[in-house]
Symmetry: D2
Subunit: 334 residues, 4 copies
């Protein structure tokens, strides 16, 4: 029976995202106390895959996940799920709005429902929890009267939903990814995404030259984000989501070109692109719990770090890049 890690505790949005995938049937679902911990479980073999948040339409990329994917031993994305983030107010059975003196939530949940709470539960004191799922657990244990959390959390903890859809603004959408050890990618569909990250020499035009490698091959970018490289002042990982699949020649050639040109490049997977949110039942993003779990990182670039400009078109670079690409396609990258 496959063991699938997720960003816990029970009843998080990550769990809900995982439950929407066929991979979760007949699998053992294992909650972890942070995205980094869930990814570490895959690396150690404790779990076969992990479902973690990757990007949120309000808050952007999830730093702990982005950083772990480029700094720790390689993992690849094999699936993505979009979930609209829905918040509900939940209480123990029998509690009414008039009874609510304390409301718990994660700071993100509180921030996104502040106006609703001020208008509808003006007398209640707001308490912070480490996750919205934990807030629901606190209600179940009688520590607070109400929680702002994902509807799934009510079901999990035997609570009653007092009000649904209490977010002050239209729902944010969170993108979750299912991450595995390196292996062959899912077969191409007509609508795929390839995720990768790269670092370049710290000189003008370096990023432009990376994007040109994609553009000359008609590969479109759907997301770009620079993330500081820990410990290296003024150097960045560029995280890129692209249209297409590593099995396609254009994407293969582009990856090989980046391998030649960049100081470091991480292929992070080719997988079917999710076009619509999978809800149904939603769960809390809880992404903050995973922040800051940084661990020692390998900073050794793929292409050495000499003071000379990289000659990304030397014949040995072509050989090395082709070998690397073969490995990427076979799922056996070092």
């Amino acid at each position: 029976m496959p063991r699938l890690a997720f960003l816990g505790p029970q009843a998080t949005f990550a769990q809900q995202a995982l439950l929407s995938l066929p991979e979760s049937r007949d699998a053992e679902l294992l909650p972890y106390a942070g995205s980094t911990a869930a990814l570490a479980a895959v690396r150690s073999g404790e779990a076969d895959a992990a479902c973690v948040p990757f990007e949120n339409s309000v808050e952007g990329g999830v730093p702990a996940v982005l950083d772990s994917l480029v700094c720790d031993p390689p993992l690849v994305i094999v699936r993505e799920v979009l979930l609209a983030v829905e918040f509900a107010v939940m209480v123990r059975p029998g509690t009414t709005a008039a009874d609510v003196r304390t409301v718990a939530s994660h700071p993100h949940g509180e921030a996104q429902t502040r106006h609703w709470l001020a208008a509808n539960l003006p007398a209640a004191e707001v308490k912070m929890s480490s996750s919205t799922a934990e807030a629901a657990a606190q209600v179940a244990r009688g520590e607070v009267d109400a929680a702002v959390a994902a509807p799934l959390a009510a079901r999990t903890h035997g609570l009653t939903i007092l009000a649904e859809d209490v977010a002050d603004n239209a729902a944010a959408v969170t993108r979750f990814v299912l991450v595995c050890p390196p292996g062959p990618p899912p077969a191409p569909t007509s609508v795929d995404r390839t995720t990768l990250a790269a670092t370049t020499e710290n000189r003008p035009g370096a990023l432009l030259s990376v994007l040109t490698e994609l553009a000359v091959r008609d590969i479109d970018l759907t997301r770009i984000e620079s993330r500081p490289i820990k410990g290296l002042r003024n150097e960045y990982w560029f995280h890129l989501d692209c249209t297409g699949h590593v099995a396609q020649p254009a994407m293969g050639e582009a990856l090989a070109a980046l391998h030649r040109r960049c100081l470091r490049v991480r292929y992070l997977g080719s997988y079917p692109r999710a076009l619509e949110p999978a809800n149904g039942i939603s769960a809390t993003a809880d992404k903050v719990a995973g922040l800051g779990d940084a661990r020692p990182r390998s900073l050794e670039p793929v292409n050495g770090n000499s003071p000379e400009p990289v000659n990304g078109n030397s014949a040995d670079r072509f050989v090395a890049a082709a070998r690397w690409l073969d490995g990427v396609r076979a799922g056996s990258q070092a």
Copy 2:
């Protein structure tokens, strides 16, 4: 006496950043309950400027600030400050480590000191607060025994520092910015930064063409981040930090070119680049408090939103762009 808003409450890192600036002398410092609220105070005239977090070396750009700067009425950055984020454990005078049964912090503070707490205060229960400064206030009020917060918070609340530098990893650095209503930029120095944001047509190569406008004029990018445009699926603001100053011809021509080419462009200021952290006394980042305060946003692009490709080189675009650039340089952009 100038009134300077900052991301509060008292004793945050934002306040500390503000105190490191000459502008804070003889000024009235006004704490606000979120970065968005601090920026709104500048827009409404309640404050003359605001000091808010912009980017963190671990967590990346601060979403609420980035979003407010592009979506709400224009403001410009006139200063930046780097601060290394230092955490201390603080208690009421007389409390010893053995006395500590409860420790409060913001979830970010907790996440970054988790291993230290497990090793050094293993018996203490950890409670969440809405900010590290609030955690220190809770200690002062006797609600908890200890707080993980900025050293400044100890001074503000009359607490004793039990342990310094308790972060599990080397300190993150946060970049704070001082933001004003549009006006003439600070005079160029030899090391300036220009911050801007733009949206493009949603087609392959659109970002590349933006970066090419910069690259042909030898302007270097120091940060790039795509942020989803709220309410528009698959459209992004590209946030860019560049080397150089709007008063320089190359930067001026590049901005004018982006004004012609992009659907929307926001000039967000030219200002001296901070090269080293300003600490001394540090303060909590508290960036989470500002999340989610989204307000109605203007999505009307500068250049209309017609189905035809933008002709960024038509003569009327040149006229409009030159007029806009004059306004930007004069500090009177609409």
Copy 3:
């Protein structure tokens, strides 16, 4: 009365091109024994303008004209004319095909009518002349029996046309230009052309960067040709024809950018684009007569020739380029 030079002798295609222009009415037409000589007459003030061949659809750019325009003191193109090159066989009145023992032509005329001559005048000996117009003059003087020349030459020399349209292949088209001393360009029309030439540093990507300056401003190239710089091994002038007019902001900014970026740049005029051949009566191209009249050339680049890469975006380059562009637009370039 304006004096207009042309590539002579009388009855050349260049004269015919000139006659198709309104500028030729009430003007004195002066034949010169080569395109270079005609251009020199404009520089010395002997003539107010010169009509010379610029490009031929079979043979490409006319080297002597291209070289003179970039190497000798500045001149600018103010008009262009397209002419289809038609050849006729002409004799003295009374001569019949059976009487023709000798046929004269310029080697180009001979080459383009060789099959016709072999089929129709198989017994005639072919003699070479210095131009097709001179061949017609030789017929008039009784030195040969027939000439392959432009129909205009028959009229000029009182000859009878024995056969028209004797070219072995569909007619080539030659583009002639009317060249003046620097001065304000003709007013923009909706369909203009701008001609320029530039030299770059001898390094990879230099030409690409020139073309990028045009492309980012949506300026299209209609012709490109590299010509070796005399005396400089492996260095080239790039001759470019572009769509648009120097009075347009995009073209102005592009020219200014090239002025900053290139070692040398020559603006060679903005003028209405000819879309159709002007014939009617045609005249011989005779372009070869102008070849090889090279004269001492100034090789001093606009932007110095230092070993360091050119910083085309320095502020002083912007100032110098703007001043130059003002001069170009005012017609007073140095």
Copy 4:
């Protein structure tokens, strides 16, 4: 015994270029009356290779050769030779300068020695010949008194050299190429050249995208020339000389990319680059004799000619391009 064609007649610069090559030893040398005829002899099997002029430092590319290489059945360049063009005045033995009443030369030779002739043989009438070698033959036959021709022509025709180095300007250099039927290219050396030609869709930026394919792979251009496509108004062949060899991965990938992106592409050979003129004895360029020998041309583009933009990165294009590249490398291109 190999049969090697050259641009004749006997004693041309092309013959001299051929004699400087080891391939000419033990070979039968066959003069042809034009470069196009020499190339046709290779296509028909009459000759195994042909030596023809390709580019002249004064006059640029040789149109008839460029056009034949892209329009007629494929041939490839396997060698190049540079020759400085030297002119001598030659007479029958016993003739003195004072005896010279008539001087013959090709119009190019006359143009390049005009000032010398005016100064040194002012009384002599100048006659035109179809080649400088033919002018020397006319001297030998007693038809004229002197010829301006290549020194080799004096030896060939038993003439005496009256004056050497009579060109008015420093010698032009002509580049000759040895052309064969498609076959494996010469082995790479450290300094090679690859010649190719391509046509693109007639839209802005098309040429830029071709050059970008080269630049992203660090391939340098040494020559570019646009040549009108006969019969297609406003469409051009771009002729390119590049550094590097088709056997190198970067050049291979670039050629494959051009094959995907362009309407038509012709690989014209990879061969060692000549760095210095091979003279010794020089010979006349006589390139004009080959002009105008145009023949019916295939205009069918490699990639169809649909109204839709070419998708140069589709998977089938990759397959087709890879197959084509294999053929190019194996010397069996269709």
